[in-house]
């Protein structure tokens, strides 16, 4: 990551390249998947038509895409913000579980407060739960120099089992006598409002998009964002410039965790309306993939998240219409990411070479007259 970002680019050139790479990868992934569908005896054109119809073909399909995209966006920000500070937050999955658990804990208690405040408290609890789950890796990384990849990865499974335990204990979060481990229902006052009547599209999507836009501006135009990028690109230089690097890394890490927590909170308060055992099923890792696709750029994550969301939403339609299993959507996602990595290197080499040639040309210009004397 660092090497790629340290290459100086004219603003426009960088923009075009960073956009072209994922698009090319998507096209390649769709082509390879078409081959797989064809090999399995299906018709790729029909399958993709059904996929498109199921994700963008109607108001209900669009709403479904939005519902699927909302947690992906927040999980993507949880990783992407970390990228900018040079952090690898692989713990999105665990932060989602904890954020969902704390949001549920607040959401099922009848509080003597107005509805909007109950909802706000539940959402804030989700943020706090995710941040809390990032506390130990953040401390270890910022103040003890322990690599965050392994610690956050390990905590994902701890979180899943921890929440599972909460859902098995009647004194904690479990609904008594339920056929499957789950919490009691979230009270209506803590529900995220439904945006379009008759669909399940909830305000979590708006929350996610707003956070994306805010993040984009914070990273570009505020001292906090500037410090974050500085810490990510060159912590030594940041230290010389007077940034408290350890403290800043700690803080950014907690915010990353909080964003992951919001992804979980949005799912329980907006869509599922209960906390279920093992509900996250890989959203945290998909957020990781999204963040790399977009190179940590919040607006890129929004675009990529809608793409992943549309694949998930359209896949069930594809299965109903053409009989091609919905798991093909996962294959398309995975291939997209693999192609992005494969293409990325060529681009990096080309840029380095361009830069070397440029500096050589500059040197030549500087020394040129002397040689001719």
């Amino acid at each position: 990551m660092k090497e790629r970002e340290s290459i100086e680019l004219p603003r426009l050139g960088g923009l075009v390249l960073s956009g072209a790479r994922p698009i090319l990868a998507v096209i390649l992934a769709l082509l390879v998947s078409a081959g797989l569908i064809w090999a399995a005896g299906g018709n790729p054109v029909e399958a993709y038509a059904a996929l498109l119809d199921g994700s963008f073909g109607s108001a209900a399909a669009l709403a479904n895409t939005g519902v699927r995209a909302a947690p992906l966006l927040l999980a993507g920000f949880a990783v992407g913000l970390g990228f900018k500070a040079g952090l690898w937050n692989i713990g999105g999955e665990g932060q989602i579980y904890l954020g969902a658990a704390t949001a549920t804990a607040v959401g099922i208690i009848p509080l003597p407060v107005p509805g909007w405040l109950h909802l706000l408290l539940a959402v804030m609890a989700g943020f706090a739960g995710g941040a809390l789950w990032a506390l130990v890796p953040a401390y270890l990384r910022a103040y003890r120099g322990v690599n965050e990849v392994c610690t956050t990865l390990m905590l994902n499974y701890v979180a899943a089992y921890f929440v599972s335990w909460l859902l098995h204990e009647p004194t904690l979060l479990a609904e008594e006598g339920a056929f499957y481990p789950m919490s009691p229902p979230i009270l209506p006052s803590a529900h995220l409002p439904i945006l379009v009547k008759g669909t399940s599209l909830h305000a979590g999507l708006i929350l996610a998009v707003v956070i994306g836009v805010v993040l984009y501006f914070v990273l570009r135009h505020t001292p906090f964002g500037f410090r974050t990028r500085m810490v990510g690109l060159n912590p030594e230089a940041a230290r010389y410039a007077g940034v408290g690097v350890a403290r800043h890394i700690f803080l950014v890490f907690l915010v990353c965790g909080g964003l992951g927590g919001l992804a979980g909170a949005g799912e329980v308060l907006g869509l599922k309306l209960r906390l279920f055992d093992f509900f996250a099923s890989g959203v945290g890792y998909e957020g990781l993939a999204l963040a790399i696709l977009a190179n940590g750029n919040p607006l890129g994550i929004v675009v990529g998240g809608v793409f992943f969301g549309s694949l998930k939403a359209g896949a069930s339609k594809m299965q109903i219409v053409t009989g091609i299993e919905a798991s093909m959507a996962l294959v398309i996602q995975a291939l997209t990411v693999l192609f992005v990595i494969a293409i990325g290197f060529g681009e990096r080499v080309r840029l380095t070479r361009q830069q070397q040639e440029k500096s050589r040309a500059e040197e030549g210009a500087a020394h040129g007259p002397e040689l001719h004397q």
Partner: protein, 307 residues
Amino acid sequence: MDLNSISDWLQASLRLAAPLMLTSLGAVYTERVGVVNIGMEGMMLAGALVAVAASFLTGNVAVAAICAMAVGGLLGVVHAYLTVSRRGSQLISGAAINFLALGATNFAYARLFATERARVATYPVLSPPGLRSVPFFGPVIFAQPVIVWIALILPFVFAWVLYRTSWGLNIRAVGEHPQAVASAGLSVFRLKYVGVILSGVFAGLGGSALSLAELGYFAPAMTGGRAFVVLAANVVGNWNPIVVAAACVLFGAADAMQLRFQTLGSVIPYQFPLMVPYLLTIAALAGLVGRTAVPKTLGKPYDPETI
């Protein structure tokens, strides 16, 4: 607890540890050459499915094992190409391989086995029946399928190669100081490729142990995070094949214990033993238990133009 239930528990521990131990063999090597492979989860899953499919078609478990190793190795080649040759992010490549394997195995499972869940030939128990009824050692050692024996023997072989051969020295050196290896005239790329491909091959074999040791069928997402337990064992076992395998046995024992907690009921919630490997790893990394010696260039791509 009487002797019988202890030997039962140890028997289950070893059987549950076998997939972890087999996967850990390659995991040590890939991390020793400096490449993190979280894609082993997907490689195990692919191995588990392919082993069942091959056993179903041929009825021969040796062929099934070889097919599982081949598909794992193939995914290993993908990971090596993306992370070593193209210097892509090891985590992203691994995560994408996991998604690919999850999607592809679900897809193939629905196509192949959805209508009939055929039970296929499993790894045989080789010892004579007389030995199996020996008290304690009978069930714990002799009544185990042959793959468990393989899993118990191979760590010693892998440790011998790593510590007692010059090729093993190259493997250990390449993750610590690739430039030194390169200036000795050896191919850093080739060593890294071998390490990563080994992790795929043995994750595939580990996957086959998961589906063919006892069950004889495949279930979607049946690996359930076992490769991450192996990564944990790697840290706890300090990247030494024998110690890592021992950690795998310990984690297998924790798994066997939680299954007993679930069926028999206990004061301790059954989720707690499941958390042990992960918490132990964090404690080890934080320096609370012993010292960890992480391979120096672990996770970093090698660029031959840097010195």
